[in-house]
Subunit: 333 residues, 2 copies
């Protein structure tokens, strides 16, 4: 990989340090609604010191892969590659294809364009699924962030057929919280389909750094070789294996997130902010008052996500407790 | 990066699962002396749940970079890139140079050859520092693993001059435990010197996954772009910043490791195994009985490191407590 020129640093949610600089007089604790991370985190188990002390063992990596394959319904553990977050995988996945033409269905999570450029591709953003046909590398975030647009499995598989041997990469970072069955996780025995699954968003453990690529064995082996041994920390191996096997927690959390998202819709609607998209982990509103609402909330100690190139958009994550709901309601009223 | 064909998986220390398969009747607990990881780990602080829950903030990354720059004596925090372990950085560092001729001073840690090949270089292993002149990418592990060979700073800087614009990468994974001042950490404002520092070995927290590249700002920016945001976990940011700032613990640990290494030398010598190299974190012996000693120790529940391509070598890590010392002494006598 010869790194090409890279874009300036991108802006992401979750930076309360930046929020406190923007709104220095705001009441604390700051409420962070700027991400799409589940506020009802998976309960942290007691970790053995060995998880921090010892090099992660290959056997533990294999066990996590098996649990993840079952949880995501991938064809087998040999189709699963665990990484310290999906983010670090993006340039490696883009490099599975020789530098050529890449297209990203957008507007979406901006790191996909940057990663494809890093891997040497000429990248453009396109507006419709059908515009992805004919490229060497096609990236779809499904459901999309931030607008929640959901492509169906049949449409994506037809696109993969049309693209072959071009590669279709589907970032399913928010799929766990999405009803229905649009996931391509079961289809990655196809040579030109790669699925990315984030652990930290649905399980509310973004600081742990854990994510997965689901891919044909040849791709999986190349990604594992690029990551090298010990890519995933001992704590992530232990917590990831426990959480992904906890079907009861997963099912209950889907219900809980859906209820919280409905409550957020009602609260936004009551404030005259109608939802135009989103997933159960975040809601997108479009309003000409976006800038004013962003600032009003910020001065009230509530940080939401604005978008530099979409000045009418605001994305709201889910409040995590009753005081946060009350403060959001008060600030919006 | 178009990944080239990669080597078969390499064998590394620390895999007690493999040890238990090799020696199924061995007494437990197995004693792992197969790595060069400090058995006297940095005391784990109480971690805030937020370290696991929230996305790591840019401010925390900046703070860790500043602490690491001071601890390693790098020119500034802008010369520091934190990663989830040095291992994942190796192909990225090798890719700072366009594919060309690479050479690794060996025999050494085998992942350097593999990483350079992954980055598209034609790689060979050479036996002498002077053999590295003239290549596009030169890799030196200093002090070397497993033989402890130490190159002096002046010789390395002369090599860097001779190599320019070729890149000299110095892996200082075991430098903290090494007396003297052979480190090139203070010299990375040079455009063609990159230093790699492992956190987990000296601090005994290999499962945490934390390591650093120290490099010219241009290289540092490219590595940071390849890693992307949130490369380092919340626990690693918190523990790394505390440990690297703890000068008292670092100084005391150097003394403690040196004493343990001398005790290990005495014990090995008493068993007729003379040390032929090593660092304060591991000792290398050369003996025609290497295979027999490996098996005798294995059956006694003590796992040391053999080398497939060096059948007379055995590497011993440090026992971590008195029972381990006693069992090692008994098994060797």
């Amino acid at each position: 990989m010869v790194l090409r020129e890279f874009a300036a640093p991108l802006t992401h949610g979750g930076d309360l340090g930046a929020a406190r600089k923007l709104f220095p007089g705001a009441p604390e604790p700051f409420i962070d609604l700027s991400t799409g991370i589940n506020p009802f985190s998976y309960p942290l188990p007691r970790l053995e010191p060995a998880a921090f002390v010892r090099l992660p063992e290959p056997g533990a990596v294999d066990r996590l892969g098996a649990v993840a394959a079952a949880a995501y319904r991938a064809p087998s553990a040999t189709h699963v590659v665990a990484a310290p977050g999906v983010q670090i995988l993006l340039p490696m996945v883009a490099a599975l294809v020789r530098p050529g033409r890449a297209a990203v269905l957008g507007p979406t999570y901006e790191e996909h364009v940057r990663a494809a450029a890093l891997a040497g591709h000429a990248v453009r953003e396109v507006a419709h699924l059908s515009d992805l046909a004919g490229v060497d590398l096609a990236m779809v975030v499904n459901p999309n962030n931030p607008d929640g647009r959901l492509a169906g499995r049949a449409d994506l598989l037809a696109l993969a057929d049309a693209l072959a041997p071009g590669l279709l990469v589907v970032d399913e970072a928010f799929m766990e919280a999405t009803p229905g069955d649009a996931s391509l996780a079961a289809d990655v025995s196809r040579a030109n389909v790669v699925v990315l699954r984030s652990f930290g968003k649905f399980f509310g453990l973004a600081g742990l750094r854990l994510g997965f690529a689901l891919a044909h064995q040849d791709h999986a082996a190349r990604l594992a070789a690029a990551l090298g041994p010990w890519a995933v920390s001992g704590p992530a191996l232990a917590i990831g294996a426990a959480a992904l096997a906890d079907a009861d927690w997963i099912a209950a959390t889907r219900v809980r997130l859906a209820a919280a998202a409905r409550r957020l819709d009602d609260l936004l609607a009551a404030a005259g902010l109608e939802r135009t998209g989103g997933t159960a982990l975040f809601r997108l509103v479009r309003t000409s008052a976006a800038r004013a609402v962003f600032e009003r909330l910020g001065h009230a100690g509530i940080f939401v996500r604005g978008f530099a190139d979409q000045p009418t958009w605001l994305r709201f994550g889910l409040p995590g407790d009753e005081p946060a709901w009350q403060r959001l309601a008060a600030a919006l009223s």
